[in-house]
């Protein structure tokens, strides 16, 4: 059983570009954050944006896209600063950014790798290195071996 996904702050946008355009037109024209939250159990990605206005007030908004065939309309036309954020999300989560002017890799090497920020992609570094927390603390009597949070074969205890 999984807990229901906590709703992120801000409005859920039906039409991503139109909704963000409304916020930009209302003065929230500084892009502070654009990211994706992976909800594997729900089969969805949640795209989250945080915009700031000239009075340093912020507003969140979000939208959900299908995790199996993730496609999102690019915001670069209305928010040029979204360019690198969207390229990062494209490679880290495998989201296709429709209408992006430069849909190439930004951070990762140009070799076939999985999208490393998807929760079901094991990090190779974690497979060849033992978890430092597995060592027992001094005086531990319990025989339960501690496990790292978020390891693929054990759900994160918070999620």
């Amino acid at each position: 059983m999984t807990a229901p996904n906590p709703a992120p702050p801000g409005a859920q946008l039906g039409d991503w570009v139109a909704g963000v355009t409304e916020l930009v037109d209302a003065g929230f024209d500084y892009l502070d954050l654009l990211t994706v939250v992976d909800w594997p159990d729900a089969g969805e990605f949640e795209v989250v944006i945080h915009l700031v206005n000239g009075d340093a007030q912020g507003v969140f908004a979000h939208t959900r896209i299908d995790r199996e065939a993730p496609v999102l309309d690019s915001l670069v036309g209305i928010l040029p600063a979204a360019n690198w954020h969207e390229r990062e999300l494209a490679e880290m989560f495998g989201v296709t950014m429709t209408g992006h002017p430069e849909p190439t890799r930004l951070l990762l090497a140009d070799s076939p790798v999985a999208h490393p920020l998807r929760k079901d992609v094991p990090l190779p570094r974690r497979q060849d290195r033992p978890w430092p927390g597995a060592k027992p603390e001094p005086g531990r009597r319990s025989r339960r071996t501690p496990r790292p949070h978020g390891a693929p074969d054990q759900p994160d205890r918070d999620g």
């Binding site: 927390g133 060592k135 027992p136 603390e137 001094p138 005086g139 790292p148 949070h149 978020g150």
Partner: protein, 109 residues
């Protein structure tokens, strides 16, 4: 210094090697080796096990400065400092042991 922080300093004398920070760190930056010794205090009926910290390292090449280790330490052995001048030419030199971790925050900036 406000709204900023630098390195995390260790107070090894406060650390009980409880492993909480090691286990909670999302980036696996912290490694601890420790052992226990039996100490019999005057008047005590039985010897007491005391943890001795042999090694404590933070790998700044992995750390993302989330502060979870500072939050989770029940003994306030970890604390934020304003020190930011600890870059290194080699990745291995970003792994600091007790000696360097204890020095953070001791020189005023």
């Amino acid at each position: 210094m406000q709204n900023t922080h630098g390195a995390i300093a260790l107070d090894a004398s406060a650390c009980t090697s409880c492993m909480l920070c090691v286990r909670e760190c999302p980036d696996w930056c912290i490694e601890i080796d420790s052992h226990t010794v039996e100490v019999t205090e005057p008047g005590a009926r039985r010897p007491r096990s005391v943890a001795v910290l042999d090694r404590f390292t933070i790998d700044w090449g992995l750390c993302m400065y989330c502060g979870i280790c500072v939050e989770v330490c029940p003994f306030d052995a970890l604390r934020w400092t304003g020190d930011t001048d600890y870059s290194a030419a080699e990745v291995d030199d970003l792994r600091h042991g007790v000696e360097r971790l204890e020095q953070f925050g001791t020189t005023s900036d």
